[in-house]
């Protein structure tokens, strides 16, 4: 299996996985979405809430604020502390505001300055004149398989498309060029050319447009273009590394269990 990083800018990463099968590609995608733990607000205790939003709606909003996740925190189960909110497995975030104001994610004060909202400009609720909001929230590590708030980002892959042209049949009429929604086909010197085959979405519009059945659209069987867009909780390459670790861990645990049979 080969891996080639195409792009790694900010929270986005694009890489090509080749020599793999669809089952492995999908296992990797699922592991990234579901098995990489990140921090998210899990519990909120409201002291004052005069805003128009109900406590539970606001709590839900808070949970979806992406928090930066440093290494070193334990999962709640691993920690095993009685209260479930000790400094080894949780971070407390507090907020106190009085209106008129728009309360932003940046107003959250964290007990660990490494666990802070990825963006400080996410609006949470609006307070009117004299309205007050005060709460303490507990953020914990969790898995995307449990709740989307613990999903470290968006991960998707696609096949690498192939474009086959029967040059003897093609009369360069240009019907396909007009029909292609991605504009990846062009005519030059009376010949049909593909500009960037990877932009193809395999919609088969060109195949249908061609009066002489000269085009065939397919895909490589063992090549996948992955795209990771992190929420910012973890750098995108870390998501991939941790997902591989998680998949490996699962297999190791499986071997151990099989031996017990």
């Amino acid at each position: 299996m080969e891996l080639e990083i195409r792009k790694l800018v900010g929270d986005e990463m694009e890489f090509v996985l080749s020599g793999a099968n669809p089952a492995f590609a999908n296992a990797l995608r699922r592991a990234m979405l579901r098995e990489v733990p990140i921090m998210a607000i899990d519990e909120v205790e409201f002291l004052v809430n005069d805003s128009a939003m109900y406590d539970e709606i606001l709590a839900h909003q808070l949970a979806l604020v992406p928090l930066r996740t440093p290494d070193g925190y334990l999962l709640r189960d691993e920690c095993g502390c009685k209260e479930g909110s000790c400094p080894r497995c949780s971070v407390s975030l507090t907020l106190k505001r009085e209106g008129p104001a728009t309360v932003l994610s940046g107003d959250l004060k964290s007990s660990d300055n490494e666990v802070v909202p990825v963006s400080g400009s996410i609006p949470l609720v609006r307070l009117d004149e004299g309205q007050r909001l005060e709460f303490t929230a507990i953020a914990r590590l969790g898995f995307g398989r449990e709740h989307a708030k613990w999903q470290p980002g968006i991960v998707a892959y696609k096949y690498v498309p192939t474009f086959e042209l029967d040059e003897r049949a093609c009369d360069a009429c240009g019907a396909c060029v007009k029909r292609c929604p991605r504009n990846i086909l062009e005519l030059s010197d009376g010949k049909l050319k593909v500009v960037d085959v990877e932009k193809c979405i395999m919609c088969n519009a060109c195949v249908e447009a061609c009066p002489r059945e000269a085009i065939r659209i397919g895909h490589h069987e063992d090549k996948f273009i992955f795209r990771i867009e992190s929420t910012g909780a973890l750098p995108s390459e870390q998501i991939l590394l941790k997902a591989l670790d998680a998949l490996e861990g699962k297999c190791k645990e499986f071997i151990k269990q099989v031996k017990k049979l």
């Binding site: 793999a20 089952a23 296992a27 998949l247 099989v258 017990k260």
Partner: protein, 93 residues
């Protein structure tokens, strides 16, 4: 993770994999298919919320079903390891 034996006779093995889902089962099934000693490997999740996957494997003479399972898991570990090394090398570039 926990394995619960459902049925075992000679070259057939059926186990329930408690606490797992498609993430592990599908890749395991696919990897078992690449093993020449394996005749059948499949799994089912009767209900996505209520049931754990039931994994079935059937092998030819020369390998126990347990061995086929651990071999497949080891091959996945190898792939992950290799990929991780390649990723780290790419990141250093």
């Amino acid at each position: 993770m926990e394995l619960k034996l459902v049925n075992k006779d000679g070259r057939n093995l059926t186990v329930k994999i408690i606490g797992e889902d498609h993430t592990l089962c599908n890749i395991l099934r696919k990897t078992l298919h690449e093993d020449e000693h394996v005749i059948t490997a499949s799994y089912t999740i009767e209900h996505p919320l209520l049931e754990h996957p039931t994994f079935y494997v059937n092998v030819k003479k020369g390998k126990t079903p347990e061995r086929a399972l651990t071999d497949a898991a080891e091959r996945i570990i190898e792939s992950c390891d290799g990929l991780q090394k390649k990723l780290l090398r790419e990141l250093k570039k």
